[in-house]
């Protein structure tokens, strides 16, 4: 087979040419926008670079030289990432496994699918409001922050925020896991059954290990979304900068406590919020961007990882 002569774009009909150049332009514009954001943030981040900010707690003062850094927001972001992933990943994988491997009765499966889509489509501020109402119930008060000697259930804590954040990550985990499971050919499942294995053993020993790259991709994508969300933090983590322990002297108290994240720190310190420390906001935003870029990098690495390849 010989290589066909390359046809030149000039010989194409004008409609094809317009589409071709539009596609090019769209791609280049996107690169330009993404590049502009990263370069601008990197420039600002370098301009206000101050490693000490990572290790200083923020202080409420008008004097910016004493208002500290964003150690607490950084801890808050990390804590929320870990907690919400710990909720979303097992739940999402379980839902995906049920949908792809069982999915009966059909009606229930379809309802679950719609529910996942609804959660995926809900704006995070709506999730936040719902979470607030939910965690304000008296019987859930042990999960949320309450000030000393007060019976008021405010419905705010790391647990409440992480629970709602996990709903943001959940559809991504479900989607990626389902895709990975669906890409495993049926004869691989049958090979396991044919060796005398039950469905449960097949899922545990063959399907989930094979779907691991997909699960990792979904979880990392979800973490990226969680790290970037502001609405839930502002509503459910309390409008405080420093971490406030919910019950002194216990680890669980931290989970019941209040705090902030990098997103809320940026918001409060930027000119959009009440603070007037844009340079701190810029550096925090730069750190946040770095975290998200690193998560994205991990996603790409995982996705490029070895999905086992079978012939169909």
């Amino acid at each position: 087979m010989s290589t066909p002569p390359r046809d030149s774009v000039k010989s194409w009909p004008w409609r094809d040419r317009v589409g071709y150049y539009a596609a090019w332009a769209a791609g280049l514009t996107l690169i330009a926008v993404a590049g502009a954001i990263v370069i601008y943030m990197a420039f600002r981040g370098a301009q206000y670079f101050d490693l000490g900010m990572l290790f200083e707690s923020p202080n409420a003062t008008l004097n910016q030289s004493e208002s500290g850094g964003f150690k607490d927001p950084l801890i808050g972001t990390t804590l929320l990432l870990v907690m919400s992933t710990l909720i979303a990943a097992p739940l999402g994988v379980t839902i995906a496994v049920w949908l792809t491997e069982y999915g009966r009765p059909r009606g229930l499966a379809r309802t679950v699918e719609s529910a996942v889509e609804v959660v995926a489509g809900t704006p995070s501020i709506v999730l936040a409001m719902f979470g607030l109402v939910f965690f304000q119930q008296q019987w859930l008060s042990f999960l949320t922050f309450s000030s000393e000697g007060s019976n008021v259930v405010l419905g705010r804590s790391f647990i409440a925020a992480a629970a709602m954040m996990s709903l943001i990550a959940l559809p991504l985990v479900v989607g990626a896991t389902r895709e990975a499971l669906n890409s495993i050919p049926g004869h691989v499942r049958e090979a396991s059954y044919a060796l005398g294995k039950t469905k449960a053993a097949t899922i545990r020993r063959v399907l989930l290990p094979a779907a691991r790259p997909g699960i990792g991709t979904g979880a990392a994508l979800g973490m990226g979304r969680v790290a970037g969300d502001t609405a839930i933090v502002v509503v459910l983590l309390g409008a405080v900068m420093q971490i406030q322990n919910g019950a002194e002297g216990s680890v669980f108290g931290l989970f019941r406590g209040l705090g902030s994240t990098l997103t809320s720190y940026v918001y409060y310190n930027s000119p959009a919020g009440e603070g007037l420390a844009p340079e701190k906001a810029y550096f925090a935003a730069f750190v946040l961007l770095l975290i998200v870029i690193v998560l994205n990098f991990i996603v790409t690495r995982i996705a490029r990882g070895r999905e086992p390849a079978w012939t169909r």
């Binding site: 004869h187 396991s192 059954y193 060796l195 005398g196 294995k197 290990p209 094979a210 070895r306």
Partner: protein, 319 residues
């Protein structure tokens, strides 16, 4: 895979094989391994093309196994339908240890369905309904625990499908989790090694048991699947077109392996490839539209078929 391969190469290509000009020979090597020998009626002597991979030896009928023939399984008036469609219609067949039973026939004739009924894998298809009786060593398989049955009646599929784990774990897969305690690696080692030896793979992978199985070549993967199926010491081995995804060289290795295995396990193989059936089968069942049209010794079915439909199919006239 549904299109039936022409059972014989067209005439002019056969001539090409007899006197191979160099450029064509490469094409011949890439072909389905059907280029073996014209049926006995054709008259001309088999001349393997020099250098044709894996097909250098002309068809040789296997010596009948000297061991005793023991009937392990039997289907009695087995019928299987998917909804309204009857896939297998009233089939009665013996499956014996010490010989290879080949099921041949055109696509959609029910041979794979029949094979999958022997380990009750048809039950996975929700619409499938089965009638008749299937016995394993005289015991009705419907009365058996399905996982126990499938350990005794093992299966290898058309596509090599090792699990995404190490070579060792693949072979040990069927042995693990049989009880609540998980046996350790040392306890399993002798079984795993034994299965790999029986599948003729030990020399190639014995030193690298911890390597991922999906890194092996296609032919090695398929032999690994055979080793995996042999590990639990089954009485019956079902093979569903095990060579159709493999090159001629790997096909030859697996065919030799099947001939070696037939004394230890009863072997049932579904194949599209009649030359393959001729090479390895002791008994052949020809199925057409769900019916078992003819069953008999391979020499008889291929050399002197009783039924007109068998003669036409074996002669390549339809399908």
């Amino acid at each position: 895979m549904d299109a039936l391969k022409p059972p014989e190469p067209p005439r002019e290509e056969q001539d090409v094989i007899l006197t191979p000009p160099p450029p064509v020979r490469r094409i011949v090597v890439d072909r389905e391994p059907t280029v073996v020998q014209p049926p006995p009626s054709n008259g001309h002597a088999p001349q393997a093309a020099p250098g044709a991979i894996g097909l250098a030896s002309p068809v040789r009928r296997p010596e009948p196994s000297p061991g005793p023939k023991v009937e392990r399984m039997r289907t009695e008036s087995v019928s299987i339908s998917y909804g309204d469609k009857v896939a297998v219609d009233d089939v009665t067949l013996p499956v014996r240890q010490g010989e290879v039973l080949a099921l041949i026939g055109p696509s959609g004739c029910g041979k794979t369905t029949l094979l999958r009924s022997l380990n009750r894998l048809v039950e996975i298809t929700p619409t499938a309904v089965r009638g008749g009786r299937i016995t394993l060593d005289g015991e009705d398989i419907d009365q058996m625990e399905v996982t126990a049955l499938r350990r005794r009646v093992s299966m290898v599929f058309q596509q090599p499908n090792p699990f995404p784990m190490s070579v060792f774990d693949n072979v040990a897969y069927a042995l693990r989790e049989q009880g609540s305690g998980r046996p350790g690696k040392e306890a399993l080692m002798s079984h795993v090694g034994d299965a790999l030896v029986r599948a003729g793979l030990w020399d190639e992978v014995g030193a690298t048991l911890d390597h991922p199985a999906l890194r092996l070549s296609g032919g090695q993967q398929q032999r690994l699947c055979i080793a995996r199926a042999l590990a639990a010491r089954p009485e019956v081995l079902l093979l569903d077109e095990p060579c159709s995804a493999l090159d001629p060289r790997s096909t030859q290795v697996i065919e030799e392996l099947i001939l070696k295995l037939r004394d230890e396990v009863a072997v049932v193989i579904v194949t599209h490839n009649m030359q393959q059936a001729l090479r390895i089968a002791d008994h052949v069942g020809f199925m057409y539209l769900g019916e078992l049209v003819e069953y008999g010794p391979a020499e008889q079915v291929f050399g002197d078929p009783r039924e007109a439909r068998t003669r036409e199919y074996v002669g390549g006239a339809f399908g």
